[in-house]
């Protein structure tokens, strides 16, 4: 079975790196970038099944990145959005764009992994 590809987008170095290491260890093919622009480039260059993206980032924010990715790519990766706030106008926007999950900071890693696994298994059964 081919490894699922995941892209982690976060401006905070430790967060990004630790999450990549965890998901690597879990057997996923993970890449990580620090901003929306790089995320766009990465998505364009490689195929990803899932993008985990922080909603609040300097430069292009998470939602804007999602919109552009969705616009440019000829495939549709799933999106997990990480947000620090329960109420956020970007969250509303993200909802409209259609994302898979919302994750609160700090990320409950166990929950995250469960959801990733559930998503991929559902996908498998449905397809």
């Amino acid at each position: 079975m081919e490894k699922k590809a995941i892209l982690v987008v976060d401006d905070h170095y430790s967060l990004r790196v630790s999450l990549k290491d965890i998901l690597d260890a879990k057997g996923y093919n993970v890449r990580s970038v620090s901003n929306g622009f790089d995320a766009l480039k990465e998505c364009d260059a490689n195929f990803f099944d899932l993008v985990i993206i922080d909603i609040r980032m300097p430069g292009i924010n998470g939602v804007e990145s999602i919109r552009q990715i969705k616009e440019i790519l000829d495939y549709a990766p799933k999106f997990f959005v990480v947000t620090a706030y329960a109420v956020d106008e970007l969250r509303e926007e993200a909802l409209r764009l259609g994302v898979e999950e919302f994750l609160s900071k700090p990320i409950d890693v166990q929950l995250l992994i469960k959801r990733i696994e559930r998503m991929f298994s559902q996908k498998r059964t449905s397809s």
């Binding site: 905070h12 967060l15 999450l19 260890a25 700090p106």
Partner: protein, 642 residues
């Protein structure tokens, strides 16, 4: 009557024109007749005397000759016969005297005895009352032979006089009749135009106008007089019309005036009143005239008004007063009255001209305005306090929101490192749970341990920063500090020259202070200046230091956006900020550092659009205040903190 009777001329003057003309004409004619009669009588008398004289002389001349012979012959009888026949009928008596005056012969018509020898031998005729006599000497050959004395009566003369008298009387009556006739005729001439005039004049009535004209009779002086009279009437009528018109206009004007206009005499009686007054009082103008104001005012008010009137008459000056009048509907009217002394034209009567303006509405409006102003004041006060409360509420809410935002930011800042730590720990747990523990794992463990450590440090830094901006540590000690060091460090920290040109004129000045706190002060002030000049084209920040015997002065000036009045007054208020990213704590911390901790002063001067200047005064370092320094080098510590 008595006077008139006592004075006949008076009676005459009172008599009618006709009687006067009759009397004057008659009297004049009679007087003229009398004068003519007297002259005529005088002339008649003269001529009669002449006739008598000639007659007597002629008669005596005749007898003289015939009688001379009788005397010569002494024939008395013949002589008497001569005397008897020689005279005419008028001869009363004829007598012959001898030269010695003795009687010779005598004739008497009425058979009377011979008169005594008259003795007057001048030969002239002597006139007496009713007779004339002559004594003529008789001479013959130059010898006096006797005298002839003849007396003649004047009967025929008196007869003439008598005739004349009758004639005169007749003439007189004729004249009288003529006079009466002529006066009647004259009267006809004079009376008619004069009567016309008199009639016309008597019909002239100022009340009914001056339209009467006299009928012109004839073109004589009376005709002219009538013309003149009529012209005069024309003029009077036109003047009267003019006067009526102007009076009418005046009345219209004063009736148009919506204020009460009146004139009063000294007794307070109205001599003029306009329609407005009549309307107000409900009494027609005609009835107002001659009445006093006592009915329309209260007794007290009327006395006041009268005293004003009297004052106006006395001082001859205008008077202004306010009065309260009850109108015909019983309403109380407030009047503002002006009274002016006034002399009626053509008379010396002083009157008082008054104008009363109804100011009831204005007064009511004034009161209403005052009341509503009071009410408005009250409402404004209420609203103001409501507004204040609302503002205070809003401020509280804003501050709460700000606190929320600040704490939100802090939470966010802390969540990232905490999240990273959690993830690293999760990863480490995963590693430890796996069986194949190799070098690669060890390397990863070290990496994540390092990450955890650095995130812990980051969290600590967040907390330290927060403490740095919100708290001034009161326990710190002061020491000798160089202001130029503080400023240098702060300028590097803030990166002022990123957005602005920096002009520094900073000397090395020693103050008695806490380096870290002063650095915090400078950083906060420079951050503010930097924010103020952001996006300014020629943005400049000046830092100057000065000192005198006691104090050091730091001036930080910028040419930025400046501050509003409100901002200036609220500068030091904790949590007050105009910067969305600001905490509103910076300047309150500055104030605490300068004033509480260092005993200095901090002042702001600012103008919107021009810039801001901050003036900080700090006490200079003095050797007496020097405390023994602790082991730690505060400068070094401060750098480490950065």
């Amino acid at each position: 009557m008595i006077n008139i009777v006592a004075n006949p001329f008076g009676l005459l003057l009172k008599a009618s024109f006709r009687v006067k003309v009759a009397i004057y004409t008659f009297a004049t004619t009679v007087i003229a007749l009398f004068i003519a009669a007297i002259a005529f009588l005088w002339l008649l008398n003269l001529s009669m005397k002449n006739i008598v004289t000639v007659d007597l002389r002629g008669t005596t001349d005749q007898l003289n000759t015939s009688c001379a012979a009788s005397i010569r012959f002494g024939d008395e009888i013949t002589g008497a016969e001569y005397l008897n026949h020689g005279g005419n009928q008028q001869v009363l008596s004829a007598t012959l005297y001898l030269p010695d005056g003795s009687l010779f012969a005598h004739y008497d018509r009425e058979e009377q005895s011979a008169p005594k020898f008259p003795g007057q031998t001048d030969g002239e005729v002597h006139f007496e009352w009713n007779r004339a006599s002559i004594l003529r000497p008789m001479q013959e050959n130059g010898e006096l032979i006797g005298f002839l004395y003849m007396v003649r009566d004047l009967g025929e003369i008196y007869e003439r006089y008598f005739t004349f008298a009758w004639l005169f009387l007749g003439l007189l009556f004729a004249v009288l009749a003529l006079t009466l006739l002529s006066t009647t005729w004259l009267h006809g001439f004079l009376r008619k135009p004069i009567q016309e005039l008199a009639h016309a004049a008597s019909k002239v009535d100022p009340e009914k106008g001056y339209s009467i004209r006299a009928k012109k009779v004839g073109e004589d002086e009376l005709g002219t007089l009538t013309d003149v009279f009529n012209e005069m009437m024309d003029r009077i009528q036109s003047h009267e019309m003019d006067m009526r018109h102007s009076q009418e206009r005046l009345r219209q004007v004063i009736n148009l005036v919506p204020h009460m206009i009146f004139a009063k005499d000294r007794d307070g009686r109205l001599v003029l009143a306009n329609q407005s007054m009549a309307d107000t009082l409900g009494i027609p103008v005609e009835q107002l005239i001659d009445s006093t104001a006592s009915k329309w005012y209260s007794r007290e008010e009327y006395q006041k008004i009268r005293s004003h009137d009297i004052e106006v008459f006395k001082t001859d000056r205008p008077h202004f007063s306010e009065e309260v009048l009850i109108d015909h509907e019983g309403n109380q009217i407030r009047l503002q009255t002006t009274k002016i002394p006034f002399v009626q034209s053509g008379t010396s009567h002083n009157v008082l001209l008054g104008i009363s303006i109804d100011v009831t509405r204005a007064k009511l409006a004034e009161e209403a305005l005052r009341n509503s102003n009071d009410e408005l004041d009250l409402r404004v006060k209420e609203r103001t306090s409501e507004l204040r409360e609302a503002v205070a509420r809003m401020e509280r809410q804003e501050r709460l929101a700000l606190v929320g935002r600040v704490s939100g930011n802090i939470a966010h800042e802390l969540r990232n490192p905490l999240g990273a730590i959690r993830q690293s720990i999760y990863y480490l747990n995963m590693i430890f749970e796996t069986e194949d523990f190799d070098v690669k794992n060890l390397k990863m463990i070290r990496k994540h341990m390092g990450m955890i450590e650095s995130e812990v440090d980051a969290s600590n830094h967040v907390i330290t920063n927060l403490l740095g901006t919100t708290q001034v540590d009161r326990q710190r000690k002061k020491e000798k500090t160089d202001l130029s060091d503080v400023i240098q460090v702060s300028v590097q920290r803030v990166w002022v020259d990123e957005w602005a040109k920096l002009n520094m004129d900073v000397d090395s000045i020693l103050v008695w202070g806490d380096f870290l706190q002063l650095r915090q002060l400078m950083i906060n002030l420079l951050e503010n200046a930097k924010t103020a000049v952001k996006n300014q084209s020629d943005a400049t920040i000046w830092i100057d230091t000065k000192f005198d015997g006691q104090s050091a002065f730091i001036h930080i000036t910028d040419n930025g956006s400046g501050m509003s009045e409100e901002t200036l007054t609220r500068l030091f208020e904790p949590l007050y900020t105009t910067n969305p990213q600001g905490s509103g704590l910076g300047l309150s911390i500055c104030q605490e550092i300068v004033e509480e901790r260092h005993g200095g002063t901090i002042q702001f001067e600012s103008q919107e659009g021009t810039g801001t200047q901050v003036k900080v005064t700090l006490p200079l370092f003095s050797p007496q205040e020097e405390r023994p320094l602790g082991k730690e080098n505060l400068h070094t510590e401060s750098f480490a903190d950065l």
